[in-house]
Symmetry: C2
Subunit: 207 residues, 2 copies
């Protein structure tokens, strides 16, 4: 089992946190608004704790569950408090039309996080290809990207503890294409696929 | 049923052509090397014809089944011979390491094709997320992108005739992210997923 800290107390922290608790993980919530952290910790129950925003997280895996525009600045503000941590960016930096990314360069929020995170932090991208409702009700594949082999195994174990299948797509540079897969997912939903009750996944062939 | 022309007589033309014939479509092969076009037409059988490279294709749907570096120049060379056609780019412009695209701009081969194709041609991206072996032996979802509504219906009908499920992800600008999905697919294969016997697809959730 893993020890997880969510920075952010919104819907994604609640959804992943609920599965994390059910999977036997230890969960901590941090939020700028301490009352929101307290409320979510109470709602999750099962020994969920809260930490002080900006302090060293209790979790080995830190999930930045804030809006995409705030992810990099949040990690920068935490600074050395994230030394040695595995940081998981789950954001989708969609443009205003939701048909592309907010940035035109071949980068990603996760790659930008890596530029401001402590040198010994291990940054991953995960979960961004899955609509929240699907994460609540389904068993979607979880694509993730990141470089450090031990942290990769840790993230995979955490995903498995949620009852989901981890799918490592490669190093952190693949985070750009995972953000693109988020765009494709929105595109498919806009074309009526599964009434939004779907996720990209891996279909194996018995050839 | 559809009438299809392949420009190119290589493995992808053979693979998709085999399914196209089985699905009752009319198939024409064009290649720079006429002897290769003749050989593939003979191998496919069932009335498969050949055309002269650069002439007006017999098919309403024209699949550019050449290496990615040659797709745009091929369409440019055909010029007005492709007027009114639905052009389907199936290429994967991978970089040398197969871990990214050969172009760093937010474009795609399909979008570049649209720039040189006749104004009334309708350009689509499709099939590029599927390994050839999977297309031969499996029933993968076929993601496709393109703008024209009637041509979109035509491409979807063609994909269905192959016994496969068409998944429209949006307009032609999404071709960039489909090329990225090709990169993700190679990344997953490199991580040992399904021994390469898989394809990205849509998993529906019964939530």
């Amino acid at each position: 089992m893993s020890s997880i800290t969510f920075i952010g107390a919104g819907n994604m922290a609640r959804t992943i946190g609920t599965r994390a608790i059910a999977g036997g993980n230890t969960v901590e919530i941090m939020a700028r608004d301490q009352s929101k952290a307290d409320a979510l910790a109470k709602a999750l129950g099962s020994g969920t704790t809260t930490g002080t925003w900006g302090a060293v997280p209790a979790g080995d895996i830190v999930i930045t569950a804030v809006l995409y525009a705030g992810v990099v600045s949040t990690v920068a503000a935490y600074g050395d408090a994230l030394a040695g941590k595995t940081i998981v960016d789950i954001s989708n930096p969609f443009n205003a039309a939701f048909d592309g990314l907010a940035h035109s360069e071949p980068t990603s929020i996760a790659q930008e996080v890596a530029k401001v995170a402590p040198a010994d932090a291990k940054v991953f991208k995960a979960f961004n290809t899955i609509f929240r409702g699907v994460l609540e009700n389904g068993r979607p594949d979880v694509f993730f990207a990141g470089d450090d082999p031990q942290a990769q195994a840790d993230v995979a174990a955490f995903i498995e503890s949620l009852g989901l299948r981890p799918m490592h797509v490669g190093g952190l540079k693949m985070a750009h294409w995972l953000e693109g897969a988020g765009v494709l997912t929105v595109g498919l939903a806009g074309n009526g696929v599964g009434h939004g009750n779907f996720a990209l996944g891996v279909g194996e062939v018995n050839g």
